[in-house]
Every structure is written in structure tokens, then in C-alpha cells.
Amino acid sequence: MQKNVLEYLEQTVHRVPDKIAYANEEIGLTFKEVYEQSRAIGTCLNDKELYKEPIVVFMGKHPATIVTFYGVIYSGNYYVPIDEEMPRHRIELIFQSLNPKAVICNSDTLDVIKTFDYKGLVFSYEDMIKTSVRDDIIRDIRNKQIDTDPIYIVFTSGSTGVPKGVIACHRSVIDYIESLSEVLKFNEETVFGNQTPLYVDACLKELYPTLKFGATTYLIPKNLFMFPLQLVEFLNKYQINTVCWVVSALTMISAFGALDKETPKYLHTIAFGSEVFPIKQFKLWKKHLPNARFVNLYGPTEATGMSCYYEVNRDFEPNEAIPIGRPFNNTEIILLDENRQIPKQGEAGEICIRGTSLTLGYYKNFEKTNEVFIQNPLNNKYPELIYCTGDLGKYNDRGELIFISRKDNQIKHMGHRIELGEIEAAVHTISEVKSACCIFDEIKKKIVLYYVGDITTANIALKLKEKLPRYMVPNVIEALDTMPLTSNGKVNRVLLKEKYNNK
């Protein structure tokens, strides 16, 4: 029985040692190199007696970063990816929450880490991979590990202003990779074009199937997602046949007519998710790639990657939403109404998830974990956890699951999951601000900030860029003389939305 994600690598490296596993435009690492380097990193971490600790990987989007993840897993620790593009304030919050004993940098970030108030060990990737591999040590670590031991923490937006660390284990990742691969039919010929950052769980879709099948993943430079023709040229140059992208990356290509000029002719599998795919744009893709498979994916980070899928196999009206379909094998979706009962057919309920794919919860936050990972209310006979997503869904007449909306103020923007409360909390840390409220323009997909305070919009923008990741900085910022309030003294979001819509 497979108990460790690295067994994928250990089987594949014998079969295709010299094939490229992960590459960017400059370099490619073969499976043999991935295997040797990650075990060297594992040996090196073990030398410092680090075990079952969060190890921060502070490197950019690069094949070496992926190898470092696996090195951390070889050592029996778990990796926490931090991107060099994250704002300082967010990195500080994450460090506070983790209190890590070790950080792995590369030559680009070694100087950056010195500017943080961090006293633990600092490793450099370039040095670590020179360590002589100790097979006996690697074997001992493996022998004492079990499949519910953690492998990573990724941070997701938190409504109070502090990001939450979601911690996942071997078992949940293996379950996800097996089910996902079955649906998307990956194999050794698969060539992935990775779009999502390495610090979110979305990249699991490329990272682990590459190991499982001996496939190849190209990391696409972020910059290319601004320039549609260059992006399609990249896909063709590297003969990329499979993409798992956020919808906005796909519509960027179709909306500007890039498909009319150049077809991504090798693409046969297109998975998308995190947002609603506008039907008009979807049809453009379908028209240019009539033989490709299009699969909508849905799922929260808390249930490891994705939980549901829908392969598009019929036409949709322009105002229709593509279903999120049905759960992966070995996952069950339970809809629950306000009384935690199953709603009538066709009525809305909260989407709750049951299955091995559930992550372990939020790191060092039992309170938050217990709020959303709860005993299955339909089972009073033995302990059984389900995860409550906070998403509302219903079944259509065909028995397909449809996403309706959020229960709270969480939004999806550029494929990222964002709590408007986290943005507001960041605005409130600016001393001149008296009051602030964020709303989301669903149509134009803009985050709109209203605030009251003696500070210019330009200075607000400047300060927020230091505190928030780029995708969370409001797209429209407006000053108000007073904040509209409801009768019980809360900010009147409805009125603000009306004001914005009437503009």
C-alpha cells in the first residue's frame, strides 16, 4: 500500500530517469536529478535534527523550488512555500503563525531573508544539494512515517486579517492525485503548462501527477499571462497538451482574439476552475479546439485541491453556469440546510465534503478547525468528520451539482480566494483610516474599497501594496465623508453596493 507521495518518484525514476520532470525556459531537471537532489536535501535537514517541523521554502517559481519541497518531505518535515513576491507584512504574519526553525532559500532570496526578524536556521538550496545522500537515514525516516503525517502547509485568506495555514497529509494528497488523474486521464505523454503559483494547493495538479506518470511540467512565467499571443506561442513551443488554469487565464487568451491568430494546437485537456467560465468565452475555446476535453473543477483547499468535476458535454445558454458536477471517486458531497438537514431536491444547501481528501485542518488553530471540520450531523453513531465549505450549492434536474454563491464575504478574484474582511483589516491598520468597507463588483470583477479618513487614495494604495498580496489590493479606492451604517450600527454594505452600481 502506498503511504508516501514520494513513492511516485521512486517508481518513476527507475522507468524514465533521464526524462525532464520540471522545466522553465532556462533549465529542466530530469527525474534522476529530482530524485538525487531531493534526497540530498532530506539528508541535510536530518543532520540538523529537524523532524516533523514546518520548513519554510522561500524561493521563486522555479523547478528547484519543487525539488526542495520533495527534499523537505524526504526529511520527514513539511514544506511551507513562501513566494518572493509576497508582501513583507504577509510573510511576517506567516512567520509569526509558524515560528519556523528553518528556512530554505536560494541565491536570490538569501539576502532578503536577512532583512526579516527571524533567528532560526537558514539553508541555501545550492549548498544543500551538495550533501552526500545517506540512504540509511532516508530509509529510517520513511519507516517511521505514516500516511497521515503532514507534507505541506499553504496559507489562505483569513477574514480577521491573519492568513490561515491549511495542513495536508500524504493520504489526502494521494487520494486527490489518484482521483484527479482518473478523471483527467493523465499519462506519460502528458505535458503540463503550469499557471498557478507554487504557494497554493492548485499546483498539486501538475506537481504530483508528473511524478506518478513520468510526465513533464513546464512552469510558465507569470508575465506571459498578460500577453495572450506570446502565451499561446509558449504553449506551442513546448508542445503543451494539458492545462489546469484559473478561468481568467483562459479568457485572457480568448477575449482578445488570440485564438484567431494562433491555435494552441497540442492542447487536448483543459481543466479550469476557481471561477465561473463565461459561456461566450467558453464557446470560443470550444470552437477552436473542438476535439479537446474541457473539465470544470471545484474544491476548497481544506479538502486538498479539488473535490468535484464536470466534463462539459453539452451546449450552454449564455446566462447558464457550467455545473461543478459530481464528486471525485472516494469523496462524497453532502448538502446541508440551516438546520443541518438534507434540503429538498433542487433547493440550496451548504456544500459539505466527506472523504479521505479532507486535510488535517488549520495549523495551530483548533478553534477555527473545529468550526468547519465538524462531526457529520447525519451520523450520531461514530466519529466522522465532514468539512463545511461555506459555499451554497444545489442539484439541477439532471442531478448535477451547481455552485450558487458564498454564505459570507469571501470572493474569488483572478482565481484567488479572498476574504474581504482580510482586506478591511489591512486598511484598518493604516492609522489615518477611521472606517473602511470592501465590496466586490461581480460583473467587472473589481474589488472596491470605501474608506473614511484623512489620507489620499494614492497613499492608501501605496500602503496596501506593502501589506497585501497584489491580487488583494483593491482595484477601485474611494474616499467618503461618512460611512453609511445600518440601524444596528454595522457598515451598510447594501447601500454601498447601490451607490457603486449607480455611479
Binding site: E85, N223, F225, M226, F227, P228, L229, Q230, S248, A249, M252, A255, F256, G257, A258, D260, K261, M414, K445, K446, T456, T457, A458, N459, I460, A461, L462, K465, R470, Y471, N475, V476, I477
Partner: protein
């Protein structure tokens, strides 16, 4: 030119678009901004921006955007 500066400033009130000529190189604008800028330029000047024009050098500064818009207006 004024209209272009206005569109850009609404996206990033903290940036001096009169002088900055490294909007792409220094990652000042991102893919969301590009989409917004294109849609607003098309509305404002009643033009369509062909995909061949959506390349880094046309978006690196307000001046470059202005030159592209002028050229497209002339061609129409």
C-alpha cells in the same frame, strides 16, 4: 494623453504615470490591469485593439499606450 493617464491613475493612484516607463518590466501593472486598461481604452476611444498589439512594449508607459491609441485611431 490626459484620458490615458486618468484611466491608469484610477487603477494605481500611487504611481506617477507621466514619467514611469517600466510598467511591465517592474511589474507595476498585472494581468488584471491589462484587461481593464484594454477595455477602457476601447470604450474611451472607440477603437479595437488587435491581439498583435498586446505586447510588452506597448504597455510599458502611458506614452507607449498613447502612441498605440493614436496609431489605431488613424488606421480606422
Amino acid at each position: 494623453m490626459e484620458q490615458i493617464i486618468k484611466i491608469l491613475s484610477e487603477l494605481h493612484p500611487d504611481v506617477d504615470f507621466e514619467t514611469c516607463d517600466t510598467l511591465i518590466d517592474d511589474k507595476i501593472i498585472d494581468s488584471f490591469d491589462i484587461v481593464t486598461i484594454i477595455s477602457e481604452l476601447c470604450d474611451e476611444f472607440d477603437i479595437t485593439i488587435p491581439v498583435e498589439e498586446i505586447i510588452p512594449k506597448n504597455f510599458n508607459s502611458a506614452k507607449a499606450l498613447h502612441a498605440m491609441v493614436e496609431r489605431l485611431i488613424e488606421e480606422e
